[in-house]
């Protein structure tokens, strides 16, 4: 189905609605009933659909009409396969894959009902954001452990569910770290190598690592995601109600967003561990603290114990003074 790009006598709004109607996917009606469009990206669109057989709502992702079938279709298939391999509570599970009557590939996945990251983090204290960030790192760390690099970590691709669960979305431009990983996942060679050739730039400006922005795909690995996660954390902290940033946190951000990949954390797990160390008032890997900082950190970590020991010493002192005053001749 084709839609004229600028038919005479039609308003922009009417044209948009006409295009939307034309793009509406028509899967097998005995299986899926498309209800409404809930998202749209450069490659395709996501619709809320009713799974007629299982009687539940799902998200149906399909390529745009007229999208170049080759690489883009393979990328959609790759995304579905990647998601199918990454079974983790923080990664949306795939339910089904298929091809529409018009030849466009599609897949269905769990319908995520939650809030965009920005809505959740705005005005929250720094410690809350760090805890939330460490949970964002969990699915990323899982993906890295399976040899998958997301390559497009940004606030728009993180959603927080109704019960506080964190979901990392849009694995459409993800990359297998090595050909062996792709082979292990039984991916066709073409799919494993999509957009990974020299010069291909994938990701989002402002969040992508320097080597990614250069199109140096061969050197894009989990450390590129670490860079994006560092930028994501910077963005989250900019929306925090807490002003100022402790030096260890600045050091974590600096390390995560280093220009040189070798200077960054190896993967999301290493980054999350340092953030959790900071939250637990332990020494972070990214920062060499001086004596005063170390003392203050240990005090913060064992505040109550220190106060209790101080109370004990105070009691000892009071007893001594009392004794000195009540002693004969005192």
């Amino acid at each position: 189905m084709t839609v004229p790009s600028s038919p005479p006598g039609l308003s922009d709004d009417a044209l948009r609605r006409l295009r939307d109607a034309a793009e509406l996917p028509e899967p097998d009606p005995s299986r899926y009933l498309v209800l409404e469009r809930i998202g749209r990206g450069g490659m395709g669109a996501v619709y809320r659909a009713r799974d007629v057989l299982l009687k539940r709502d799902v998200a149906l992702k399909v390529l745009h009409v007229g999208a170049d079938g080759g690489d883009v279709a393979a990328r959609l298939t790759q995304e579905a396969r990647t998601l199918a391999r990454l079974e983790h509570p923080g990664i949306v599970p795939v339910h089904d894959v298929g091809v529409l009557a018009d030849g466009r590939p599609f897949y269905t996945m769990k319908l995520v009902q939650g809030h965009p990251l920005d809505d959740v983090v705005r005005g929250r204290p720094q410690a809350d954001l760090l805890r939330l960030f460490s949970r964002i790192c969990e699915p990323m760390a899982f993906a890295h452990s399976r040899g998958v690099v997301h390559r497009d970590v940004k606030p728009q691709n993180v959603m927080v569910g109704e019960f506080g669960e964190v979901l990392v979305l849009d694995w459409g431009v993800s990359k297998w770290a090595s050909a062996r990983d792709a082979h292990d996942a039984a991916l066709p060679a073409a799919a494993a190598g999509i957009d990974t050739g020299a010069g291909a730039v994938v990701g989002t400006r402002g969040y992508m690592a320097p080597e990614q922005a250069r199109g140096d795909s061969a050197n894009v690995d989990s450390r590129a995601d670490v860079y994006s996660l560092g930028m994501l954390l910077t963005h989250m902290l900019s929306l925090s109600s807490t002003r100022g940033m402790p030096r260890p946190l600045s050091a974590i951000l600096r390390k995560a967003t280093s220009v040189e990949p070798a200077a960054r954390y190896a993967d999301a797990e290493a980054l999350a561990k340092d953030v959790l160390r900071l939250l637990a008032a332990e020494r972070v890997q990214a920062h060499r603290e001086n004596f005063l900082e170390q003392t203050l950190r240990l005090y913060r970590r064992h505040r109550t114990l220190v106060l209790l020991v101080a109370a004990y010493l105070l009691v000892r002192l009071i007893l001594l003074l009392w004794q000195a005053n009540t002693a004969p001749g005192g």
Partner: protein, 120 residues
């Protein structure tokens, strides 16, 4: 580190300190300081182990503190009783108050102390 071991070490260290303070609070006990420190250390080790064992079995900060206070007080009362029984001054406040406080500290510390999970 296991809670009973942690409690024992902490109780022992505080017990040593507790015994040494006798030099300041009761200078006339200086000739017996060695036995005082040994007795106080043993008391601290015993209290620390009991409180640490309790913390391992019962995960509750308030109960841990109350149990620590109780054990600290009980053992300190035992020392006072031994003093009185042997005809020496009781030093009630000097022994009961810090002894109970040591129990409270160990009770708190062992409840807050996290035992490392076994390696997966």
């Amino acid at each position: 580190m296991k809670k009973p071991l942690y409690g024992t070490i902490l109780g022992g260290v505080l017990g040593i300190f507790d015994g040494l303070t006798a030099l300041a609070s009761a200078p006339e006990t200086a000739p017996q300081i060695m036995s005082i420190v040994l007795g106080s250390t043993f008391k601290g080790l015993l209290a620390g182990f009991l409180i640490g064992y309790f913390a391992r079995k019962v995960k509750s900060l308030p109960l841990g503190i109350v149990f620590g206070l109780f054990v600290g007080f009980l053992l300190a009362a035992g020392v006072v009783w031994m003093n009185v029984a042997s005809g020496q001054p009781g030093y009630y406040w000097q022994i009961l108050l810090p002894g109970s406080l040591v129990g409270l500290i160990v009770g708190y510390a062992t409840q807050r102390h996290a035992e490392l999970a076994p390696q997966r």
